[in-house]
């Protein structure tokens, strides 16, 4: 067997040379007490690729129409061999992907990896996160079940409060005034064509920038090694870092398989536009803190509607978050306590509001 590998290797080297492997071996990844956070980007990428693979498999059976969507997912879950596993992994990995992307984003924030020269890496990462949320929002409706139908109704209704273009946005996203079959077709288009295209483009940019600037070293570590005769410890990307990455990916696969088998993603009952809105409708967990915030706002705040105020404030906060690299003017090597405190507040707020929203 090793002889076969050696032959393949020789065949490859004769044609393409040893450049790629040499490059990967040459690429060094710093090792320090915070280097565990470096694996979150790779984990998110792995989950995204898993989504692409399981999504393509689901596409073989899924039918994006109100008359067939629910039934086709039911068919996948009950009749297609391992369909339940593919759908379960797709649904769970979607959530895990947003969770790891969130952790990746906050770790980047707290380790100040967004600072010069990596501002655009941060911006592209934030935009990717928004796209992942878009995947979650559009994918949630596709099984065309009752909960998804009404959650989409509530979610798209919120767009109406955006000044000037709110009404137009609602019509664009719904494909009409109401959530109908047109919305389903449209969301399917977003989910399998528009968002994947944008994500591929942005992901390429993001990975290129990560590659171009290399791994960032947290200010505290950098300060400790500045002027030290001992260089910052590092190990090769290939195979040391990649093998550790692989370990993580396998573990994630195990977790996903366990979730899909022990806690299958519920399909619920088919959506009925004429049915009354079921009690306790709430969005997916990653939108829960926003939902809870809007729920707590009074009907009127200052001179505008409470909901409108909330949506505008959320938009402004998101913009601020994306522009953080340009606002954090701390000198290189300084931890920057103000932004750390700000990030901690955001984390506490999101966790608190999510738990509050979860408890209802």
């Amino acid at each position: 067997m090793p002889r076969v590998f050696a032959q393949i290797r020789r065949w490859y080297d004769e044609r393409f040379g040893d450049e790629l492997l040499a490059f990967l071996r040459k690429k060094q990844v710093p090792r320090h007490r915070h280097s565990v956070w470096y694996y979150l980007g790779g984990m998110t990428l792995f989950l995204f690729l898993l989504q692409v693979a399981t999504g393509i498999l689901l596409l073989l059976y899924y039918r994006p129409s109100p008359g067939e969507a629910f039934e086709s997912v039911q068919f996948i879950m009950t009749k297609v061999r391992f369909g339940w596993l593919i759908r379960g992994i797709h649904a769970w990995a979607g959530n895990l992907l947003i969770f790891t992307a969130m952790l990746h984003m906050f770790s980047t924030f707290f380790l100040k990896a967004y600072r010069k020269p990596r501002e655009l890496t941060w911006v592209s990462g934030c935009l990717l996160f928004v796209l992942f949320l878009g995947f979650g929002f559009s994918g949630y409706l596709l099984p065309w079940n009752e909960l998804a139908f009404f959650a989409t109704k509530v979610g798209t209704e919120m767009m109406a409060v955006v000044p000037l273009i709110g009404k137009w946005l609602v019509v664009v996203f719904r494909g009409g005034e109401e959530v109908t079959g047109a919305t389903l077709t449209r969301f399917f288009g977003f989910h399998v064509a528009i968002l994947p295209l944008l994500t591929t483009l942005l992901l390429t940019v993001h990975l290129y920038l990560v590659q171009y600037f290399g791994m960032s070293v947290p200010p505290g570590i950098e300060r400790a090694y500045r002027g030290s005769p001992q260089p910052l410890p590092a190990h090769p990307f290939f195979p040391n870092f990649l093998l550790r990455d692989l370990m993580g990916w396998y573990l994630a696969l195990g977790v996903l398989a366990a979730l899909a088998a022990l806690d299958p993603w519920e399909l619920g009952v088919k959506a009925d536009a004429f049915a009354p809105t079921p009690a306790g409708i709430r969005p997916e967990w990653y939108f829960l803190f926003l939902f809870q915030t809007l729920k707590l706002l009074p009907a009127k705040l200052l001179w505008i509607e409470g909901e409108q105020f909330g949506v505008l404030l959320s938009g402004a906060a998101a913009l601020f978050w994306v522009l953080v690299p340009f606002l954090d003017r701390e000198p290189e090597g300084r931890t920057g306590r103000l932004f750390t405190a700000l990030g901690a507040t955001v984390v506490v707020y999101i966790i608190g509001m999510t738990l509050w929203g979860w408890r209802g």
Binding site: R31, H32, R33, Q74, M77, T78, W84, L85, I221, A224, Y225, L232, P233, A234, H235, P239, N240, L243, R244, L246, M247, Y250, L251, L253, G254, A257, A258, A261, L262, D263, P264, E266, L267, V269
Partner: protein
Amino acid sequence: MRFVLAVATLGLAAVSLRGQAPQSAPAADSCRTCHAIFEDRLGQAVRESSEDVHWLRGLSCVACHGGDPAEEEAEKAMDPRKGYIGVPRRAEIPRLCARCHSDAAFVRGYNPSLRTDQLAQYRTSVHGQRLAQGDTRAAVCTDCHGIHNIRPAASPVSRVHPLRIPETCAACHSDAERMKGYKIPTAQLDEYRASVHFQALEGGDLSAPTCATCHGNHGAAPPGVASVERVCGTCHVFQEQLFDQSPHKGPWQVMGLAPCLACHSNHRIEATSDALLGAGEASLCARCHSEGDNGWKESLDMHARLSQLQAQLGQAEAVLRKAERAGMEVGEGFLTATNAREQLIKGRVEVHAFNAGRVGKVVDDGAKLAAQAQEAGEEALRELGVRRKGLGLSLIAIGVVVLALWLLIRELEGSRARPPETR
């Protein structure tokens, strides 16, 4: 002579009305201006009429009472020569209302779908016949619809809205003193309130039967033994058809037993159950049939078949629920169980033919569906077991790979000096 005069003046008022078809509340007139001053019943009429359907459609006091609202002086406004009749006599009320309500051309100007046969129907009713015999205590239009505050029947505050009809009828029929002379029971409302029909009505089903559904409204009368089955059959169509084919049909007719009522009673129609069949305490069949006769055997057979399907279905649904709780998708199984339950319902309807063979045929179809539903649930639970075993094996395989990777990393990094980690 007084009667002829009254009819003639009413006719005059009606003629004057036909010329106009106002659709909004009329302008202020002297009747309302003067009567509004009174705090007693004379003023109450004005206050009550502000939401009255006639007033809101432009029909004022003069439409019923006659007179001249343009005159400011009371004597002139209430001049009999101008058609003024004062308070209409009870005996005259049906004809007074019918002046407009029996005039199809006139009614069409207000509500083209409104029926115009109320007076004709009323004359066939027990109320109408008693009134014609001179019993002025018999119900007339105003007893049910109100006087100055008449609302459209569809209005929830109308006295003849489905939700209020039982109380409206009971206002007289539950009054023991009033009913004493008629020798009819007065417990109908209490009995009706214990019925499934009232439960449905109370639950918001406005199509649920009320007094008027079975007795008629303007033509109200007891259905009578001969027509009870047809009355119940207006809603319970299949039960009626099946009863007509049943062996009970002929003998009951001879015995003078009212179909439907003989088993289900009239006003107190309680929820049915399989226990009404068979030989248990609640069995209705056991009231007439004795142990060993054909009817007894059929009843036992029907009871056994229905109970068996009910039990089988309960078992299937329990398995499906168990699989569902475990996260399995068993929507199709539940759909099959629903179809089986429909067969059970059909079987219960089929009982009205009093033929165990017919019930059995329907129940057998239901049993097949229930078995399919149960199999779907059990298959889901078996699949769950397979998944868990598969998961166990996969986790072992993943664990082995992770361990191998860890060993490989150790070997790789052990072969050269391990780079130190920072503090």
